[in-house]
Symmetry: C2
Amino acid sequence: MYQAGDVRVENVRDPAIENSTDAIVRITSACICGSDLWPYQSMPFKENGRRMGHEFIGIVEEVGAEVLGFAPGDLVVAPFVWADNTCDFCREGLQTSCRHGGGWGAAGVDAGQGEAVRVPQASGTLVKLPVAADSALMPSLLTLSDVLCTGHHGAVTAKVQPGHSVTVVGDGAVGLCAVLAAKRLGADQIVLLGRHTDRTELGRDFGATDVVSARGDEAIEQVRELTRGDGTHAVIECVGTEQSLATAIGVVRDGGIVSRLGVSQYKSVPMGFDTMMRNLTLTGGAAPARAYIEELMPDILDGRIEPGRVFDHTIGLDETPDGYQAMADRKALKVLIRP
Amino acid sequence: MYQAGDVRVENVRDPAIENSTDAIVRITSACICGSDLWPYQSMPFKENGRRMGHEFIGIVEEVGAEVLGFAPGDLVVAPFVWADNTCDFCREGLQTSCRHGGGWGAAGVDAGQGEAVRVPQASGTLVKLPVAADSALMPSLLTLSDVLCTGHHGAVTAKVQPGHSVTVVGDGAVGLCAVLAAKRLGADQIVLLGRHTDRTELGRDFGATDVVSARGDEAIEQVRELTRGDGTHAVIECVGTEQSLATAIGVVRDGGIVSRLGVSQYKSVPMGFDTMMRNLTLTGGAAPARAYIEELMPDILDGRIEPGRVFDHTIGLDETPDGYQAMADRKALKVLIRP
C-alpha cells in the first residue's frame, strides 16, 4: 500500500533466512483484515509503500538452525504478530507485548499478502495444522490468525459466561466472530448491533439472539428495552470509532465490562463520573492470537464452529487491490487470498 | 453544607421510623471523607443545604417491623450507601447499584455527620460489631464504612495477587488503605505516589516498598525505573483528577489494570490506540463496601491490620466545620467525629 486507496501487487526480493530463529513459509492462504481498511481510507503517501497482510497459512520451506519443532513441508498458521512465546509477557498469554516480537510488514519484515514470508521467532510464532493443505477447513483455520482469536479475546476479556447477556457492536468479521465466541462461552442472550442484513443473518447463525440495526442513542434505547432496562453484562466493541465506543458504554449493565476490539480511532474514552459510580470496566485490545490458537483449533477440526463463513470472496494475489475496494465498498465481508 | 467552604452544625428534626424496613441508629463515631472535600471546594450555594457524612458507627435505638437480625442496643457499622442486600446487583456484590438502595444525605435521608440517623433497608445495610462501644478498635472498625473497603475494592478489581507489583497514586486515606489492601492480598512491590512525608511514612508502615514524591511525567519515569521500565501490574488511582489518572495510565505494565477510586473530576479517559495495543484495563469505581465488611472485619478484630491509623484528628460534632478546613488545608489526614 502506497497510500489510501493505492494497493499494488509488486515483485520483491524472495525472503531468506536472516536469523537462526527464522523460517521461510510459502503462503497458501491469506486474507484482508477489516483493520487494513483504516490505512486504505487514510494512509498518507509513503515513498516505498508498506507491506500489507498479517493473517496467513502456509507451508514451511526452510528453517533456521535454532528453529525447533518445525520442518520443511509442515502446514502452519501464523498469528497476527510474531513472538518468541517464551518471555514473561508471552507466558502470561500476552504475545502482543512480546519482548522480542513485532508486527508483520514492519521495517525489514515481510507481510502476509504475498507469496512467501520470512517468519521471525518461528518456533514461538507458528502453529502446525494437522490437516492437508487442500482441506475444506482452510478458511476456518485461517481465522485462527486473527479474526476468530480476536473475537474470542473480546469474549474472554469481557468474562462472558453461561447465563450472561452480551452486546456485540459491529457486524464486520470480528463482530461476527465475537458473537460466535460469546455463544461458545455460554452466553444466553447475544444482541448484535449491525445494519447489513446478510451479515446479521450470519450473526444469527453464529448465535445472536437479537439484532439491532439502529445506531447511537436509538440503539442504546433498543438494547436496554431488550434487557429490562439494565443493559448487558458484557459488551464487545468491534468497530473502533468514537460513536461505537459511546454506544458500547451506553448499553453495558452496572458492574459490566466493555471489551474493545475495533482499532481505536479515538484518543479518549467517555468514562467520567457516571461510569465510575456504575463500576464499569473497559478492557480488551489487540488480541494475543497465539495464546488462543491451540484452544480454538479443535472446535474447528471437529466442525463445532465454522468461523470461515466470514469469507464471502476468494481471489488470487493479483486481484488483491480489488479485494480491498470490495471490502471498503462493503461488497465483501472478508476476502480470502489464494496466492 | 450550604456551599463551598460553608459547613454548619444545625438542629434538625429527630429521625423516626418511616418504613417498616428502617432502623434508627444513634451515632457514636463518624468521620469526614476525602470525597467530602470536592463539594467543600466547589459546591454552589444550596438554599436548604446538603446533609453530609456517609461513614458511621452507632447503636441501634429502634427498628421497624420488618427489620430482621437487629435489636435496640446493637452496635453497628453502616457502609457508605444503603442497600437491600438481596437484589440481583447486591447478590453479585455490587450494593452500590442496589435496586432499592441509595446514598446518605439524599433527599429525605439523613447523613452520617450527626447525632442520629434513619437507616433505610436496615437489614441489608447494617453490620453488627462484636465489640463494646468503647473498644479501642473503633477507629479501625469505622474504616469499614468506606475508606478501607474502598482501598480493598481497588486492590480486588486490580486483581492484586502474590508476586504482583502495584502503584498507588495518592497518599490520602484511601491511597493508604489501598496500600494496606494490596499488601494484604500479597503484592510484592508497592510504589506509593505522594508528597506528604507524614502520610507516605504511614504508607510504608502499611506496606509500601517505594515512595515517589514526583508528579506527572517525572513520576511516570521514576516508577518505570523502579520496575525495569515495565510499570506495575496494577495501579490504584486514589485522587480523581485528570492528571492523576494520566499518571496511573502511564505507570501500568502492558496487560495491566488501572483501578480508579478517586471520585472522577474528569469527563473522559486518555485511553486511545496505544493503550489498546497494550491491552490495558480500566476498572474500579464506587466501592460496594457492604460486600467486603465481613471479609475484612476479622483482620481488624485480630489486630492484623490497623487502618484506623489514618485518623489523625478527633473532634466533637460542633467542631465539624473546623474538621473540614483542617482536611482541606492538609493539616489533617482524616478526621474522626465523636458526636
